[in-house]
């Protein structure tokens, strides 16, 4: 990695880590994950299932919030505060700037996720759930999902305002979790054009539900290793595509 890109990545990480919002979200993520114990008291039968469900959902939700809130602001802030001129006047290309930002955000997400996941993992163990290694696999898949979300928010952040970036990213996040309905919707369409259109959208939009393996983790059902492998490759390919289009847009942007 070139020094300039590394420098941008580290600065991005430091900038995110200095943000009070980051700590607040991590704190609430941990708090909600631990409060899953209280919710599990209310159920009948397998309380550990409810504890894991609630805790994993809390970590997931707050990590997604961190990914969106940090992602939508970073590039926009550089442009708004005119610090982009300083950066680009140095021997740093626009491509390196975007990749550096992405890597910095990825490091931020890794730190936030590691803090929440580590505490929750220990919490499950202390609550009698044992060392459930499937949880680690779940957090790995969640990290891939977060990387895709970060790439999406970075894309929108490169050409629009934080509010619009937020709306677009959240919309894609929500749509990404109901992509299975597209396949069902396709079957009721009669006009071939709309069928192809839906098919196109199905492949174009991010399918985030494939990273959701909560069911397999909490119900202890078998994983299909191929499904996991294809999900990992899908994430890498989709992130590459998003970074490429972000760079293309950012290259054409004129700063005043």
């Amino acid at each position: 990695m070139k020094m300039s890109m590394k420098g941008i990545a580290i600065n991005t990480f430091k900038e995110s880590a200095r943000n009070k919002m980051f700590y607040l979200l991590v704190f609430f993520g941990i708090l909600f994950a631990l409060s899953s114990k209280l919710i599990s008291f209310l159920t009948l039968g397998d309380a550990m299932k409810v504890l894991k469900d609630t805790g994993l959902a809390a970590v997931n939700f707050f990590c997604v919030l961190i990914a969106i809130f940090t992602g939508i602001n970073l590039v926009y802030k550089e442009i708004e505060k005119k610090t982009i001129f300083n950066i680009l006047s140095k021997p740093v290309s626009r491509d390196q700037f975007i990749i550096g930002k992405f890597l910095g955000l990825a490091l931020t997400m890794l730190t936030a996720l590691a803090a929440m996941a580590g505490i929750f993992f220990l919490f499950v163990w202390m609550s009698g759930g044992g060392f459930d290694l499937k949880i680690i696999l779940y957090f790995f898949m969640l990290f891939l999902e977060l990387l895709v979300i970060v790439a999406i928010s970075l894309l929108f952040s490169s050409f629009t305002t934080p509010i619009l970036s937020f709306i677009f990213t959240v919309s894609l996040y929500l749509i990404g979790h109901i992509m299975w309905t597209f396949n069902e919707f396709k079957t009721v369409l009669r006009v071939p054009f709309w069928k192809h259109f839906m098919q196109g959208l199905y492949y174009l939009l991010p399918n985030l539900d494939k990273f959701n393996i909560k069911n397999e983790v909490v119900l202890n059902t078998a994983f299909n290793p191929w499904t996991i492998l294809f999900s990992v490759l899908y994430a890498l390919a989709y992130i590459l595509a998003l970074l490429a289009v972000t760079i293309l847009i950012f290259r054409r942007r004129e700063f005043q």
Binding site: L42, T43, D53, L174, H177, I178, T181, K214, N215, L219
Partner: protein, 281 residues
């Protein structure tokens, strides 16, 4: 400017007044009085879509809510939505096992609707084909409440065939075959259980059942032969040996312990030394 002390007094007085008002309000509301309620629930598919990847959590929360809701005995019409509620939960998370079990318990013991419970347990068995306890519960409800022994036998048969089904499921299956008036088949099943018993308790239970079934079969057969003897000789046989002499039986059977049956020459009846009462219908 308002003095600080006055503000503190206003704060305390405000709080006291609010608490007093809350108390008066509570006196006007009968929180736990009988009342009807209305529940509106989207379909399981709609909730799954709207949960945006948090479907497990949605199922958990709905299940926890259902436990509280069905514990609220002051709601007079709470069973109106029972099947819908548990159908929704199990549509969102079909592999979540507790809602099938708890839902069917509520349907059976609270709502007294056995067919509804059987529908829910059938759904559980369909979505979790390797789990034996849905069929076991369904079989037990058929036995206990419907007295439908063929149906109970069907469920126990299905449960016993599943991997990991405990030994007691096979015992239940054999017992239901017996209740279903097929003592020959039940005897063979109990004999298999007896010969492969994992512990003394299981062996003793199988022994008792075998004793009961064998004596029922044997005494029935002997009494039939005694009746024929009476037809031929116009009297009861003085002992069971007379049945051999009269060539009505080739040998006398003994009970499962190897002891002779007790014959009453006054009445022409045959009984076993030990009498069990398994056949409770």
């Amino acid at each position: 400017m308002i003095p600080g002390r006055l503000l503190a007094v206003i704060f305390m007085a405000g709080l006291l007044l609010a608490a007093g008002m809350q108390n008066r309000y509570d006196a006007t509301v009968n929180y736990f009085g009988d009342r009807a309620t209305f529940v509106s629930l989207p379909s399981g598919k709609a909730l799954k879509t709207l949960s945006f990847g948090y479907s497990n959590l949605a199922a958990d929360l709905l299940f926890i809510w259902s436990i509280q809701f069905y514990s609220a005995t002051y709601l007079t019409n709470r069973f109106d939505f029972l099947e819908r509620v548990y159908d929704t939960i199990t549509d969102i998370s079909p592999q979540y096992k507790e809602p099938y079990i708890i839902g069917s318990l509520i349907m059976v013991y609270e709502a007294r609707d056995i067919p509804m419970a059987l529908r829910l347990l059938d759904k559980g068995s369909r979505h979790n084909p390797d789990e034996w306890f849905f069929d076991q519960d369904a079989g037990y409800y058929c036995f206990k409440f419907l007295k439908d022994y063929p149906k109970a036998e069907f469920y126990y048969q299905r449960a016993a065939a599943k991997p990991g089904a405990p030994a007691f499921v096979k015992r239940w299956k054999a017992h239901l075959v017996y209740l279903n008036d097929d003592p020959g088949a039940a005897y063979r099943m109990w004999l298999e259980i007896y010969e492969n018993a994992g512990d003394a308790m299981e062996k003793a239970a199988a022994f008792n059942h075998l004793y009961q079934i064998k004596s029922e079969i044997d005494t029935g057969l002997l009494e039939e032969k005694i009746a024929r003897f009476r037809e031929n000789f116009r009297r009861w046989p003085s002992s069971l040996v007379e049945l051999i002499k009269a060539r009505l039986v080739s040998a006398l059977p003994s009970d499962f312990s190897g002891n002779d049956y007790i014959y009453d020459p006054e009445k022409g009846t045959v009984t076993a030394a030990r009498i069990f009462r398994w056949k409770r219908r």
